[in-house]
């Protein structure tokens, strides 16, 4: 009868095959198995690392001109020198150093603008979804207006009016990129608001702000993180476009978009000047996108039975 007794003991509490792994451990395991996420995260974090330690890694000052060594090709093509691994630009500045410093600008603008957009979009979205009524109507009207605006043109004119600087570029791009946050958080909030755990929270006396910050926002976190990473990519592209058009980051600050703009005059006989920053932008944006997609895959299947 020993085994029967053992069963009796196991039955003390109604038990189920509770996974031995915690949610965090499960998430970690899923992340490590997701190839896209791994690739994105690796590339992104290396770029972040390079950007942060650019002053230590960069072989030259990115602003140092040396007209004698202008327009050197990268080391692997004919005429390249080992001093300048990726060659020099039309003013003889070391291209590798400029790319490394450019990563700082791109990441700063990307993360900064995505954060500005997040604050605007999530605030509006949660308020519209939670309170409904006229607040929702006003916010929806704002959204419609925003979607009707030609983003890049507006950004250009705004930067032009205020005067270009990194800070202004971050704010302008951020202010123009909050619609994704709004649409997603508004719908999700409306859905969550219907659920009984919100009624329960109200029934234990939670205030509106307690409900929003304790019950609703944690449930939106996954979606917000995913949009955030995607928005970083969009903001980086927007910055590159603005800089290319001359109303973003101003010379001589190294910015990838600006580098492409400067390189385009020499594009036909020195294609590297355009291709290298192009590759850099591509890698950064695709890595943030892959990481965003991966995060969505890893976190979204909230396996509710």
């Amino acid at each position: 009868m020993a085994r029967v007794e053992q069963i009796e003991r196991e039955l003390d509490g109604p038990d189920e095959a509770v996974s031995s792994l915690t949610t965090k451990a499960l998430m970690r395991r899923r992340m490590l198995r997701h190839k896209g996420f791994l690739f994105g995260a690796t590339v992104l974090f290396s770029l972040v690392f390079l950007a942060i330690f650019a002053p230590l890694i960069a072989p030259f000052d990115p602003l140092d001109q040396s007209l004698a060594r202008r327009l050197l090709p990268p080391v692997w093509s004919e005429g390249g020198v080992w001093d300048h691994l990726l060659g020099t630009d039309h003013l003889g500045r070391d291209y590798l150093s400029r790319l490394l410093y450019g990563a700082r600008i791109s990441l700063m603008v990307g993360i900064g603008a995505a954060t500005v957009g997040l604050l605007i979009g999530v605030t509006l979205g949660v308020c519209a979804g939670y309170f409904g009524g006229w607040i929702d109507q006003v916010v929806s009207y704002l959204l419609t207006c925003q979607l009707a605006l030609p983003g890049l043109l507006l950004a250009m004119s705004l930067v032009f009016l205020i005067g270009p600087s990194v800070f202004v570029v971050i704010c302008v791009i951020g202010v123009l990129h909050w619609t994704y946050y709004l649409v997603v958080t508004r719908t999700a909030t409306m859905q969550i608001k219907q659920l009984d755990y919100i009624s329960s929270a109200r029934a234990i006396g939670s205030s509106n702000s307690q409900i929003i910050f304790y019950e609703i926002l944690p449930n939106l976190l996954n979606q917000i993180i995913v949009i955030f990473t995607l928005e970083i990519g969009i903001a980086i592209l927007a910055e590159a476009a603005l800089s290319f058009l001359g109303v973003g980051i101003q010379a001589p600050t190294p910015s990838w978009g600006l580098m492409i703009a400067e390189g385009k005059t020499a594009m036909f006989y020195r294609p590297w000047l355009v291709i290298l920053p192009g590759i850099a932008i591509f890698m950064l944006v695709i890595s943030t996108n892959l990481m965003g997609d991966g995060l969505r895959d890893v976190t979204a299947p909230e396996n509710r039975n």
Partner: protein, 711 residues
């Protein structure tokens, strides 16, 4: 009526010829495996069944027992990766085993076998008219022309009790009520004169009154068309009234089969017995706890050793753990000389007569023995704990920007009171205003008229924190009432944090104490809601509600989302807590058997009004209002072989936006007289809102349309 003759003939011929030799449906050793990420899920294991023409078979079991999977296997509707194996799988002439899913879909399902699904709201396509969906099932199989199909559709819509059948064809699903849609589903299932009709929980989503009507209809049609029927249900009451034979499923296996009388009156398997004990039933237990089955359904993934029920069985022995007991066949009333259709069988090592030797299985250990339901009742105090006085709640509804505002009166002039220790059950169909009333009593919504008093003082004047400490809710769906992002511990401790109760370290202790009180193991403290079972979730919701030691719990359908055995555990828990903490309950439910078990007083609501309010005993023995009577008749208690009574309830749903003149219930009332159309009854001194109370037998009742009219 040429159609009628046409439809009944083939069925009649078949029965005479075939029944004797071979059954209509023969399943032998059916197995369904579903590969999952964690291993193979054995959803159905070794199921053998036979079914003759004109017979109705009920399959009973808890969720996850493989009931639906067995049915879907017949129709070739299994999930994409599932594998089906059997030694015989035959329907009449068709050998389903040799057919691919595609062939089954083409030749058998929708034609020879049809299925009625649970959710009438989603099983009809909203963008096509009823007529198109009905005729399509027939023309799709290429057996008839559009005109013939149309004629049959009209004929069948009449058969399922829909009036003005011809004009119905042009209607769309959203124009019909839930019961009407289920009737359309039944008509659709009958279009091709199927030999077998499978109804998977056909009435679970419907109101009790409608459930009784639909089941009655289904049974009548099954006999009239001489079809075989498989009724899948978790509700033993439903099963006992509608089928001839029963198969009990557990963990993918058939564990007991027999005629409905045999299985329900003399269960052989401990699980069947346990299930029967779980059901609260009028007159069955007056003061005892409900029986429960400990533990949970085992995981069906991977190989299992021994009896699947061993880990929950109160009769478990060592040999149960070693080998799976074979299905023992026994000669019973239902068995025929031919061995293949012998039906009485069970899968247990115990001898068939163990039940008579054994007392009821030992109950769950509990610190409360001999719980008496009567104590705590009747301590009438001068001031009731909570009281609603003439409470109304109206909503303004505007369909579009330019239409005029309409007023929906969800709750209309409701007065009731709860004294300490009361369990007031609020009963009524969906949409009658129960939940709106509950919201107002919780203080989450304010009445448009009238007032709610808490210990004599207006509820709206009480500080929200104070109010929420004393009145707490328990919601219906434990899956949506817990925040999926918070751990169990965080959820239960939350009220203390919001209210800033005591020292932080004391709060943790209080949580542990409350978890113990509701029967939650402490190790679940750091688990997330998606890692625990439905019953445990409901325990968490209860723990959260009682941690501040409230005085009133408002339970909105606390068990309707749970399995029978879990329902019994939760009801027991609620009873225990009531004793231990001196709680007062407002219990909102549509399930009268739960009411019978829990309540001390009952309030019956119809279209926003309370039509009767009385002590429980009074309602169950001598209900005064005709609607209460209808509700009581619709309660399908377990009475094997008994037919479902005709409640005489009219089928005209009154539009809440356009209430009928006179008594609100008169269009559906089986007892209505002419006066009822003209005069609105007041709530009488006995708390009955009916003109005919006390009943005078010489009044002439008006004939109500029992068919569905347009509304």
């Amino acid at each position: 009526m040429i159609m009628e003759a046409d439809t009944e003939k083939p069925g009649a011929e078949n029965t005479v010829a075939d029944v004797k030799q071979n059954p209509l449906l023969k399943i032998e050793n059916l197995e369904v495996d579903i590969p999952t990420a964690n291993g193979t899920l054995h959803a159905v294991r070794d199921v053998s069944l036979t079914l003759n023409r004109g017979e109705a078979l009920g399959i009973v079991g808890e969720s996850g027992s493989g009931k639906s999977m067995s049915a879907l296997a017949l129709l070739g509707l299994l999930p994409a990766k599932a594998q089906r194996r059997a030694s015989t799988l035959r329907l009449g002439r068709h050998d389903l085993l040799s057919m691919s899913d595609g062939e089954i879909a083409k030749k058998v399902s929708g034609d020879r076998i049809t299925m009625i699904f649970q959710e009438p709201m989603t099983s009809l396509n909203p963008v096509y008219s009823i007529g198109r969906q009905l005729t399509e099932t027939m023309t799709l199989h290429g057996k008839s022309s559009e005109a013939q199909a149309r004629e049959r559709a009209i004929y069948l819509l009449g058969k399922v009790g829909l009036s003005a059948a011809e004009s119905r064809l042009a209607q769309y699903p959203h124009q019909l009520s839930g019961g009407q849609r289920q009737r359309v589903m039944i008509a659709m299932a009958l279009m091709n004169e199927p030999e077998l009709i499978i109804a998977d929980e056909p009435t679970t989503a419907l109101d009790v009154t409608v459930q009784a009507q639909i089941l009655r209809l289904l049974g009548d049609l099954q006999r009239e068309f001489n079809m075989a029927m498989i009724l899948i249900s978790h509700d033993l009451g439903v099963i006992s009234r509608t089928v001839d034979k029963v198969a009990v499923m557990y963990a993918g296996q058939l564990i007991e089969t027999g005629t409905v009388k045999e299985v329900l009156d003399q269960p052989r398997h401990p699980y069947t017995r346990g299930l029967l004990d779980c059901i609260p039933e009028p007159g069955k237990q007056k003061s005892a706890r409900l029986g429960t089955i400990r533990g949970l359904v085992p995981s069906l993934i991977g190989e299992t050793k021994g009896c699947a029920f061993a880990n929950r069985c109160s009769m478990v022995r060592d040999d149960c753990l070693d080998q799976s007991p074979p299905l023992k066949v026994e000669e019973g009333e239902g068995s025929s000389p031919d061995h293949s259709s012998a039906f009485r069988s069970f899968r247990c090592v115990l001898p068939a007569d163990w039940v008579s030797d054994q007392p009821r299985p030992a109950e769950e250990t509990s610190n409360l023995v001999n719980l008496s339901l009567e104590s705590g009742v009747g301590q009438q105090e001068a001031v009731p704990l909570i009281e609603a006085k003439g409470v109304s709640r109206r909503f303004s509804i505007r369909r579009s920007l330019f239409s005029r505002t309409e007023t929906l009166t969800a709750v209309d002039d409701v007065s009731l009171s709860l004294s300490k220790g009361d369990v007031l059950a609020l009963v009524g169909e969906s949409g009658c205003g129960k939940s709106t009333l509950a919201k107002m009593l919780l203080g989450l919504d304010a009445p448009s008229n009238g007032e709610i008093l808490f210990e004599g003082a207006p509820l709206s004047g009480i500080n929200p924190l104070e109010r929420t400490r004393r009145i707490q809710p328990v919601f219906q769906d434990p899956y949506s009432s817990l925040n999926p992002r918070k751990t169990i511990g965080e959820i239960i401790i939350r009220p203390l944090n919001v209210h800033n109760f005591g020292e932080v370290k004391d709060r943790q202790k209080e949580v542990e104490r409350t978890m113990e009180m509701v029967g939650l193991p402490r190790r679940l403290f750091h688990s997330f809601p998606n890692q625990i079972s439905g019953g445990q979730r409901q325990r968490v919701a209860i723990a959260r509600a009682i941690i501040m030691r409230p005085e009133i719990l408002i339970c909105d359908e606390p068990t309707s989302a749970l399995d029978v055995s879990v329902q019994a555990q939760i009801l027991n828990l609620l009873q225990e807590l009531r004793q231990e903490l001196g709680l007062t309950y407002l219990l909102i439910t549509h399930d009268l058997s739960v009411v019978e078990y829990m309540a001390t007083k009952i309030a019956v609501m119809y279209l926003g009004q309370i039509v009767e309010l009385a002590e429980k005993e009074k309602i169950f023995s001598d209900a005064a209002h005709p609607y209460t009577n209808v509700l009581l008749q619709s309660l399908l208690t377990m009475q094997p072989g008994q037919k479902i009574p005709d409640t005489g309830l009219g089928a005209v749903y009154s539009n809440p936006l356009d209430l009928p003149k006179g008594c609100r219930f008169h269009p559906r009332c089986p007892e209505a007289i002419n006066e009822c159309r003209l005069k609105e009854p007041e709530l009488g001194s006995l708390y009955v809102r009916c003109l005919r109370h006390p009943l005078k037998s010489n009044d002439v009742t008006i004939k109500n349309e029992t068919n569905f009219l347009e509304y």
